[in-house]
């Protein structure tokens, strides 16, 4: 197995093509694992403490070995960079056709460094790479950018597929995402802000080459077996119809929803509590853009008869709202109509901004207004005019989305890196402490689900390498009370009981390793979630990986591969000065009792430290500092990484002279408050 690597330095305009050797796949699997290594290597030569918006930051797109091979597990591309909003390790996944089109063009990884003197886009056409002027695209939203590039580049030698940023990325908003083919956002960590800081508007790719498979017959057999397994899975059929949206009603019953900046744990609006949108809205195209046997994705169109509010958006097309788009719109900001929720999803996608962080920024300021902690005059100072800040008011919300995306007023500037940094800056500005109303976990990243009753979920938010997030550790065993899975994983049902702390830290550690494997194969998480034992990444998916790459492993070795990748992400953050105290969550989650639902009264603090201790134990890290130990790194064959950490005084129990790194985690350059 070898991979194609494209390196582009936008400062010098240099383009280099290299090969990723087999040995790197042996060590880092592929996909996110190799991305992580490319970033690690980069920051051995560049200052890891660099401003993420500076030319020294790196922007990596990578795709795993299982992408584009017709296996039906779904394809996910991965972006990796230093996060401009949280100042720590950043990465983000996204589907669509872009990832495998990159492979068909001859590359698996694209590394962009430096900064172009003016807006550019990168055109990759079967290994021919050109840096093109993007002045005409600057200022456009993601959908229009994609359409213009499709027009411009045509359908030969293949259709054109794109990654682009919208206005938020152009303005280097920290929480800006990167959008695939104009409609599927890589939302987390702020990749759009990094692209914007490099004046890189888009990457367009065309390719009609193939992908080398080590054992094609083996892969065909595997793929056939996988399809048959999924065919017999009735839950997969249900998931195809709704995607993750079925979670709204489920969370309503287990108390997992998030309402009005998490002042509540249950949605209110009758309409958005149901899955009426499936019945009412017209699905005009079913989109499985991702080599996926499930195909949960689809495009919908608002016709105007669906609700009174829908009349405002007649003709608007949108990707169906996923659970988190709904949780941010209907939950965090209390929008109560499906057409408005869909519109929220559409505009955040088009401006290219993460709706998790943004909804918590908007929810924060709405809550201050609701509690009369800010006056009408304060509001005018923030927005330059009166603003109702009424919960659920879509017109108001749309203005606030523009304020942040275009950086047009103090609210936009303050909250460009999300709710935590915005709340901190605003508290400093006003000389008052508003932090108890800010929703965040590690790094200051926000998330719109109720955390307090779910100890693994809560721990995931505190330790995820890219900052508070659900997709690194997954709360599968505890949140869904999977005592059966707990027995299979740990020999006891206790991890499936969310009311006790036992094995909750262990769940984070083990599932992070599995997720790291899936992300490194470059496939979707959902198939695995539908049947975690049958589709285990270290065994069943591992067989497909072996057929493609020729790299054979025992299941134990594959779990170590996943663990190695998690340790590399951790090591990068340790170099930045992150320690145990940074593995934390916000005050509301930690100390404020869950206000309603079946888990009323629960607070995270009851179990937080115990679960975190257990997590470090399972990881083999030092509980006191949260740092990695040389012993663990050596077990994983990471002596080289241990040496770098030791030189930075970022490994447990080894204190040396040399660079003393222990800085406060910080977002890049505080924007300050303009006069």
């Amino acid at each position: 197995m070898e991979g194609g690597l494209l390196r582009v330095d936008l400062t010098t305009g240099t383009i280099k093509k290299e090969r990723i050797p087999h040995a790197l796949f042996e060590r880092w699997v592929g996909g996110s694992g190799i991305n992580d290594w490319l970033m690690w290597e980069h920051f051995l030569k560049h200052d890891p403490m660099c401003d993420p918006r500076s030319p020294d930051n790196i922007f990596i797109f990578g795709v795993g070995p299982l992408a584009g091979v017709g296996s039906g597990i779904g394809v996910k591309g991965r972006l990796t960079f230093k996060s401009p909003c949280y100042g720590i390790f950043g990465d983000s996944a996204g589907g669509g056709k872009f990832p495998y089109m990159v492979r068909f063009s001859g590359f698996d990884y694209i590394v962009v460094t430096g900064k172009a003197p003016k807006p550019v886009y990168l055109h990759i056409c079967n290994e021919e790479v050109t840096i093109c002027d993007a002045t005409h695209l600057w200022g456009k939203g993601c959908e229009e950018t994609h359409e213009m590039l499709k027009q411009e580049l045509g359908d030969y030698p293949s259709t054109t597929h794109t990654l682009s940023i919208g206005q938020a990325g152009e303005n280097q908003v920290g929480i800006a995402g990167v959008v695939s083919d104009g409609w599927r956002i890589h939302a987390r960590s702020g990749g759009g802000g990094v692209m914007g800081s490099k004046n890189l508007k888009a990457i367009a790719v065309q390719g009609n080459g193939g992908v080398k498979i080590d054992n094609p017959n083996g892969l065909l057999e595997w793929s056939d077996d996988f399809r048959q397994k999924l065919d017999g899975n009735e839950a997969a059929y249900g998931f195809k119809r709704r995607g993750t949206l079925g979670a709204v009603e489920m969370y309503q019953r287990i108390g997992g929803n998030f309402w009005r900046n998490n002042q509540g744990a249950l949605f209110r609006g009758e309409e958005v509590r149901s899955d009426n949108w499936v019945k009412k809205y017209h699905k005009y195209s079913e989109v499985c853009s991702s080599d996926c046997y499930i195909a949960c994705d689809g495009r919908y169109k608002i016709e105007g008869h669906e609700s009174e509010q829908a009349k405002k958006f007649v003709g608007e097309t949108f990707r169906h709202p996923e659970y988190l788009t709904t949780a941010s719109g209907a939950g965090a900001m209390d929008i109560r109509d499906w057409a408005e929720v869909a519109h929220w999803g559409k505009i955040t996608n088009d401006y290219g901004i993460d709706n998790q962080d943004l909804s918590c920024s908007i929810g924060f300021i709405m809550e201050l207004k609701q509690r009369e902690l800010i006056s009408d005059r304060d509001v005018e100072e923030l927005f330059g005019k009166p603003q109702s800040l009424e919960w659920g008011n879509i017109e108001d919300i749309e203005e606030l989305v523009k304020n942040v995306s275009y950086q047009t007023n103090p609210f936009g500037w303050l909250f460009r890196d999300g709710a935590y940094w915005g709340a901190l800056r605003y508290s400093e500005q006003k000389g008052q402490n508003f932090m108890k109303y800010a929703i965040y976990g590690k790094g200051g990243a926000s998330f719109t689900e109720e955390m307090r009753p779910f100890p693994t979920w809560m721990n995931n938010m505190a330790v995820a390498s890219r900052g508070s997030d659900h997709l690194k550790g997954i709360g599968l065993i505890e949140k869904f009370q999977r005592k059966d899975l707990s027995k299979a994983y740990f020999g006891t049902p206790i991890a499936g009981d969310p009311t006790v702390p036992d094995l909750k830290g262990a769940c984070t550690a083990v599932l992070e390793n599995q997720v790291a494997l899936i992300n490194s194969y470059g496939v979707c998480l959902f198939h695995w979630l539908l049947d975690p034992l049958s589709y285990a990444p270290e065994s069943y998916y591992g067989e497909a990986y072996t057929a493609v790459t020729g790299i054979d492993r025992t299941k134990e070795e594959r779990m170590l591969d996943g663990e190695r990748i998690c340790n590399l992400e951790k090591a990068y953050n340790s170099r930045l000065g992150l320690r145990r105290e940074h593995d934390t969550i916000c005050e509301r989650w930690m100390h404020e009792p869950c206000p309603e639902g079946p888990n009323k009264g629960r607070v995270a603090a009851d179990m937080f430290e115990q679960v975190l201790d257990e997590y470090y134990e399972w990881r083999g890290w030092d509980k006191e500092t949260g740092l990695q130990t040389r012993k663990k790194l050596e077990e994983l064959g990471m002596e080289d990484v241990a040496d770098v950490l030791a030189a930075d005084n970022a490994i447990a129990g080894e204190s040396r002279s040399g660079r003393a790194v222990h800085v406060e985690m910080k977002a890049s350059d505080d924007p300050g408050i303009p006069d």
Binding site: A235, G238, F239, E249, L471, F526, L530, P532, P598
Partner: protein, 93 residues
């Protein structure tokens, strides 16, 4: 004899074509409720409800809870007047 309320969401709602119903059980057992539902709604319901490998309630991609939000397994006992919700158990986005 006890009475329970069955509530259906998502795929369960499509199969049953209703959002809830009242069901009488001879024995207060989840196993009996599952049996009644598979008989009444046929193969698709059975495929969603029962794991053929374990003959327990299917846990993959589904979640069945009582009114306190506690997950139910086949050998659980139900109280008279209990509400059982049949849901999909997958989230994200």
């Amino acid at each position: 004899m006890i009475t329970v309320q069955a509530e259906y969401t998502a795929r369960f709602k499509e199969i049953t074509q209703i959002t809830s119903e009242t069901i009488q059980l001879e024995q207060p057992h989840m196993a009996e409720l599952a049996q009644i539902l598979t008989t009444k709604y046929g193969e698709r319901m059975e495929a969603l409800l029962i794991d053929p490998k374990t003959q327990d309630l299917n846990t993959n991609g589904t979640l069945f809870v009582d009114s306190t939000g506690r997950r139910l397994f086949i050998d659980d006992t139900l109280a008279d007047g209990e509400t059982v919700s049949f849901m999909v158990g997958i989230a994200g986005g």
